[in-house]
Symmetry: C2
Subunit: 348 residues, 2 copies
DNA sequence: AAAATCTATGCAATCGATTGCATTACTTTC
DNA sequence: GAAAGTAATGCAATCGATTGCATAGATTTT
């Protein structure tokens, strides 16, 4: 287990010997340079240069009880939505000198594993990008005696007292519905996200609120059970094709479902937007390059990641004590492209 | 800096006191259960349960000089190709009890930062998914006195003595060219990857080798300067449209460029595959759902990630000493979909 | 010039887990 | 039953950085 290196890495003692000061002074020279004289600081810098010293994080972590790392738990790194958010998190964390540990596809019932990263001093806090966890258990982690610094981002956990960074999914979905209504559509369907997912239900509710506000028709067989994957979208397409009365527009719970949907209806002979307008949600990079380019609600993914990382590190470094949970709610933006058009009835 | 927790986390000493044994015995009971009596083992287990003890990784790392974590350095997590590989890496690492630290978009000239993760005892080894680094400097890291365990995956660094896990890009690209030739195309273009990238040049060379083996025509103005992004593909599309004599098929260096290309030629009035067949490389998830579904070379991304993680951890845990660099070369697979067809001249 | 104040630095304990060596208790062998 | 061997456990040093407290020296105040 113990690694054998020909030459051991230089330690603070080595630097101290060469600079002819004590290890304590080296430590101070490096972390609070104003506390030592110029002469000492220079001697230490020189000794660091000579030895090629790098601080041993394990020793530092042990002493300070701080790992200078955060754990990011996500449901699926492979998903471009999450990987972009992760990108922003990583950037912000690096800026503030923190490492980023990733835990992918951790099971719902595996919150203990996340807690243990904290308890075992590998991470100083948790950034959770998944709302499908036991809120009660999670809340217990944030209280004494554990006091896990926690930020929930992307997906909220309703009614739970966590710091969160989310986007306003309800309002954005309502905007989407309103946009389709304003384009002249009266028969509008929705490809729902996965069951039990908070984002799904908020987007569905927002969509229905949009319909309701215009007193538009709402039919159960236009509410397609779906999911967030392309295959889910394709399944919804098959369901739509089978209908006698079809909606002229469909709002999908995310871009991937929208793409899978369009892909499948094209295969089956319908055209988008000629026969059916389709909207997505997220504005993934592919949305602009898909055929047809996808009308969608753009979520500020980078901002979500950056703010979440920022908030978590503030929490970690902040004074302990009672902190009122902060909620950041960012807005999404309507991006109109070619996958939506007025319904056939309104076209010349 | 020092975190103040109401109650400190239980330590091995606490467990020892409750189990009425020494800390040394607790340590042994946990790491090598066969070395203690059943009675002791049970008492320790019970004490662990009572206290809720979790091992402090910092202390362990300090003592053992091992972090039980690997650092994955990649050029762009946001890219679905890399994020899938990362997914596989994470899974394998977790299986073997290793944490995964990510370093994204690290600059070419910033290899020191990667080395410092190792020197500072935050990571036990480096998994590099980017070939665009200074090979000489990197090689120095793997030698004494640093002895950084290193695996280069996805992109090889030619002529450098590293363990690598790659796919056979040259052969796969040649296969792609041969497939297009066999479909009857005689005028075939190529959207090149980014300049200076190893993958780009191997795919380009393989493509040209394919053409050469069939003595097919090769024209400089059919070799589009490109890149790996959708925008790069779109630019190539504009260049193609401007040509007097156009190729009837195009092989793009990756799926994203292929998608950007198809998207742009559609916008400009050409149809795929009717006017031009297009092939990609990678088989991203979107490839199957794009319109038209994309013919492509599927890279075994999961296998690459898994093998790379496996090899790195073997290297970390293996006996130190001279190790001959191992090269894993995996094969890609032709996936035929609808974006390719025989050229117009051969169709009825 | 003595007293008080301040500054720079060193000493030594500390963080928590691991392990070589020493010790004790128990078993086997002749 | 004494000697030798073995198994289980404890003692104490160790990994490397940080920091409260002590001290020596410099500076200011009276």
């Amino acid at each position: 287990m113990e690694r054998e290196t020909a030459e051991k890495a230089p330690t603070i003692q080595d630097v101290a010997r060469i600079a002819q000061v004590s290890a304590a002074t080296v430590s101070r020279a490096l972390s609070r340079p104003e506390r030592v004289t110029d002469a000492t600081r220079n001697r230490v810098s020189e000794a660091v240069r000579i030895t090629g010293y790098t601080l041993n994080q394990s020793a530092r972590s042990l002493r300070l009880r701080a790992a200078r790392a955060i754990l990011v738990a996500l449901p699926d790194i492979g998903n471009p939505f999450f990987s972009t958010v992760l990108d922003a998190i990583e950037r912000e964390a690096a800026r503030r000198g923190y490492g980023v540990l990733v835990a992918n596809r951790f099971a719902r019932d595996n919150t203990d594993a996340l807690r243990d990263y904290f308890l075992s001093n590998r991470a100083d806090g948790l950034l959770l990008l998944d709302g499908s966890v036991d809120a009660e258990q999670l809340a217990a982690f944030t209280r004494a005696p554990i006091n896990l610094p926690l930020i929930v981002a992307c997906e909220s956990i309703p009614g739970a007292p966590f710091h969160t960074v989310i986007t306003d999914n309800f309002y954005a979905a309502k905007q989407a519905a309103l946009y389709l209504l304003q384009s002249g559509h009266t028969r509008i369907g929705h490809i729902k996200g996965p069951k039990g997912n908070v984002l799904s239900s908020e987007r569905e509710a927002g969509f229905l609120a949009g319909l309701a506000s215009a007193s538009a028709e709402r039919r159960e067989d236009w509410m397609f059970t779906g999911g967030f994957s392309m295959d889910d979208g394709a399944r919804a397409a098959k369901a739509l094709i089978a209908l006698k009365i079809r909606p002229t527009a469909v709002f999908a719970a995310n871009d991937e479902a929208a793409i899978g949907f369009i892909s499948e209806i094209s295969r089956l002979g319908l055209k988008c937007p000629d026969d059916v307008s389709v909207m997505g949600f997220d504005d993934l990079e592919i949305a602009a390059h898909f055929q047809p380019p996808l009308t969608t609600m753009r979520q500020p993914r980078e901002a979500v990641g950056r703010l979440a990382a920022e908030a978590l590190i503030d929490l970690i470094e902040g004074a302990p004590g009672k902190i009122v949970p902060k909620q950041f709610v960012l807005s999404s933006e309507l991006i109109v492209r070619k996958s939506t058009a007025p319904p056939p009835s309104l076209r010349s």
